[in-house]
Symmetry: C2
Subunit: 253 residues, 2 copies
């Protein structure tokens, strides 16, 4: 007997930014797996069970959820933002590939959500209005040299760059190094947005320049967006400036 596994994106953290589809999926499940703060975003009914795990135990969590779904239950794995962007969907797929055949028979439904860079961009203007990339700055799962190679490639080709997982207690120097690397390629005037907890009560959106960007402005709840050389800042009297990347671009040499 094979059950159902939802992988649910709860959005950036503001309940008004969670889709009805995500809410409906959560209403169907009996068992919830995830990092505590993401599970806290759902109001569970009596009889719906929480299985909390640490944020870094993705593969073990995926396996436990798949096991329970394979036994016939309706299970939800819960992510912040979108589950497909540096979150649980890839971990579940990895577990399915490596796991027993019955895991491949589970009815798997992934429910997308608003990912952090979109919520931050909306607060700042339209920094992702032109070609862009998303890079996780965590070197737990890939070598630091590969991250540097990607930063250089993206900046040199004119992509706007959204950095996920920019900093943590265990990874204190990576964001500073990333800024150093980008300063060798991009003008010091390039806009940098520190978008913390976008859409939540403790939101803080800070616009700086690459020359002056201070890694201490970021924490684990921050998504950092670094403009391209075309990204512009429009000052507005009495309001936050608008940061945007024009839709058009000229060839550069």
């Amino acid at each position: 007997m094979s059950g159902k596994l939802f992988i649910i994106g709860t959005g950036p953290g503001n309940p008004r930014q969670m889709t009805p589809e995500a809410r409906d999926a959560a209403a169907q499940a009996t068992d919830f797996f995830g990092y505590g703060p993401y599970l806290d975003r759902l109001e569970l009914a009596e009889g719906q069970r929480r299985h909390v795990s640490d944020n870094r135990e993705e593969l073990a969590r995926a396996g436990a959820a798949l096991d329970m779904a394979a036994s016939g239950r309706t299970v939800a794995v819960v992510s912040g933002g979108d589950p497909g962007v540096f979150a649980m969907a890839a971990a579940v797929c990895e577990a399915v590939e490596a796991g027993p055949p019955e895991w491949r028979a589970i009815d798997l439904e992934i429910v997308p959500g608003v990912t952090a860079m979109l919520a931050v961009a909306a607060r700042a203007g339209a920094p992702l209005g032109h070609d862009f990339c998303a890079i996780s700055l965590s070197d737990n799962l890939k070598p630091w040299e590969l991250i540097v190679k990607r930063l250089e490639a993206a900046a040199s080709a004119g992509f706007v760059i959204a950095l996920y997982n920019p900093i943590s207690r265990a990874r204190p120097w990576q964001l500073g190094k990333a800024f150093e690397c980008l300063r060798t390629i991009l003008p010091g005037t390039t806009p940098v947005i520190f978008g913390r907890a976008a859409g939540r009560p403790d939101e803080r959106i800070d616009v700086s320049s690459l020359a002056e960007a201070d890694p201490a402005k970021a924490d684990m709840a921050t998504c950092v967006i670094i403009g391209s050389p075309d990204t512009r800042i429009v000052e507005r009297p009495g309001q936050q400036p608008l940061v945007y990347s024009p839709r058009f671009a000229e060839a550069r040499t």
Copy 2:
């Protein structure tokens, strides 16, 4: 007297994937600007007025909306997906920068949404589970050589690539050329996802390989996702395969 301008992301097209925040914003506006099919996604009340324009008249539409907001009305500019990704938010910011000073005094609120690549990825597995980029294949606003440069940079550095605006009647050959370009860099086995109308009744998700990818499978409602050399396909008996990009990566030479 200065009014309010919302820029609303309606998500991929399935009403269950539109956020409550977007719905609430739409309820407040009196005048709606946008491409007809996007406006059709909103159920407007009596007295709420539609101002339909062609899909390619973004800047004129932004100016008309700003003009009306500056006169004191509550206006909504409506995008599909997320308004910050190849959509109306950048056009409005451009218009604000070039326009009269009173446009800078308008209370501008951008409401994010689920963008197409996230909806397509959710249907296919987790192809965006590792570093990725988004490129608009439209060469109306940038030279084709710049697009080729970005495709090469992204593929060479191991980014998964999401292509927006892959094809149209006026741009019939670009997607085929993009595949040709990527075949010189990536293995022929690299997974390619054609994600059409994800989440809508006429959804069609097609998984192919770069060697066999046929541009004729894409239309204007399609987002194309091209994997990295690490992206994997997990076959499932009786179900669509899962396509995912592992969270971890090794350095490549």
